[in-house]
Amino acid sequence: MSPLAIFFVIIGLGLLGWISARTRASAFAGVGEAKGRPHSLPAYHGWYVALWAALPALLFLALWAPLSSHLTMEAVVKSPPAATLPAFEMQRNAILAEARELAEGTRTASFNPQAGALAETYKAAAVRYDLMGTVASLLLAFAGGAFAFSRIGPAFRARTRVERLVMGGLLVASLIAILTTIGIVLSLLFESLRFFSMVSPFEFLFGLDWSPQTAMRADQAGSSGAFGAIPLFWGTIFIGAIIAMLVAIPLGLMSAIYLTQYAKPAVRRWMKPLLEMLAGVPTVVYGYFAALTVAPAIRDFGRMLGIAGTSSESALAAGLVMGIMIIPFVSSMADDSLNAVPQAMRDGSLAMGATSSETIRKVLIPAALPGIVGGVLLAVSRAIGETMIVVMAAGLAANLTLNPFASVTTVTTQIVQLLTGDQEFDSAKTLAAFALGLVLFIVTLLLNIVALRVVKKYREAYE
């Protein structure tokens, strides 16, 4: 039976359990010590039985699926036809994978004749294990349901138990967040460590030459690759932390100042959402806009100025558009910070005969500075993690240059570049992407932690 069918059967059994338990429980209303006021409503008894029937079986099913595929593969490997498989691991795995695909029906013709024979073995083993799994889960469902049913009675505190289970469920849900973080860190670490076993971390972090090639075969020419990531780090900083910030900080800060200090409330009410719309535009649209309109204009401008090395994919184009995208991040944090400065401080300055701009420049901004700085750090973190704009408008050439009209590449672009096409997953080239991902993760994490700490300390000062 297909997993989906089994799933529905188990759900059905649960429903059956619910109905029967509830019916039984509604008879409790007038019995014994529970006369007139039973501890739990009948529905809770129903849920108790239903959950006991369905949950263990579903859990088993979830665990069985990967287990059974592993066991099936084991069985195939141990079977007689598999004895003729080549010893070379890559070929062997490829044939086994083909066999599996043939058996599952996702592939209709195979490259390798051996795969056909193995597919039959695979199918047989799969059927066997599937049957085992189905029977076991159904048994579990029945057993659980029966056990729970036997326990319900007038004095049974069904509601407490069900609620405890619900609370457990809530806890599990929250743990998913931690699991995800751990998952990210582990998977990045794991693959990066494999990478660092092929390429030294020193070369990666401090090397100046980025040309990632790996040999497909041992004797291939041009097999040496350089994995020095400094040009990538520089490209990321150049576009995200320098050019984009040169656009976003003045525009964002001055917009926030105008909105909080000068604009009438009616104007502010629609201007603020308008600015936030800038953050809602998908980055692929920004990237397309950058590639279509901005980059050619910059290229022409650069040519007009006679700057050498002007390319149609430039750091300036990507940086400008990224800066525009980041404006709402800066302005929103600055807005919040400026609003958090107590009105009394503003009144104190105005009462001395200072103009609005003097009050803002000399009193409000220094007072709001930690919040503003926090906002800028968060914006930088967002900018360096941005992918689509740079993929579409900056370039692929690892270039260590100060020329904004030239094409540079960034960490995120290279991650995308390294993982496209059919790669052998184990090659240094693909693993380099994970190493880059690890660096990106750590840097953005640090930036975020520092930014939030700065903002928090500042907010405490005013509360």
Binding site: P265, G348, L350, A351, M352, A354, E358, A367
Partner: protein, 272 residues
Amino acid sequence: MADDMILSEAVRHERPDPVETERKMSAVGVSVWYGEKKAIDQVSIDVGRENVTAFIGPSGCGKSTFLRTLNRMNDTIPNARVAGRIELDGEDIYGPDMDVVQLRARVGMVFQKPNPFPKSIYENVAYGPRIHGLAAARADLDEIVERSLQRAGLWEEVRDRLQESGTALSGGQQQRLCIARAIAVDPEVILMDEPCSALDPIATAKIEELIHELRGRYAIVIVTHNMQQAARVSQRTAFFHLGELIEYGETSEIFTNPKVERTKDYITGRYG
């Protein structure tokens, strides 16, 4: 009974000097609206040149609102509207010729809750003279800061720690710092909006002493909800109620022999 108590309080301090009736500021027929709500109704009053004038009345009666019209701080409130005429040395402060920035340097304000800037003590006091260009050189600025802090009675306590943050001082010290800050721009009038309500009794006493010392130099208007304080520090008192000026006269008169029934009821504690 209550009358005697108040009078004896007033007598305990030195008897106030004969008041000068020369007008520093005068208001004629002033009304203030917040949106549709009328907060002040046709108030006319004079502020003497070398006097301390007290505004008293129950909370919410408009004393602070009226005080804020005297230095045009109501301009910062979006839907506030002021009608009537207010003059400083004979000039209409709402007129086109009067510059609000200058006005606020001439008419300083101390707020209810001390609001020093999150800067050093020195910078707090130096801020005003800096923006108005009152000091040509650093030495002049130093002198202004020292003089202001001395006049505010704070110099001895902070002379060794001028670079420390103004917010690190105690409540009473912070309020004196705010007074020093207001003094530093050399105003002619100082408005005080319940300056002691956030302070403990000892700090309050210090501030009242300070008001006494400042009296000759600046015209002072103090809003207070504490009648005894008004009796202690002021020469003239105005009683506000529900946005109207009920009675205005010599402090001793108001507290011993009020002419209006409502004033008498308030003074004797019948309400408010």
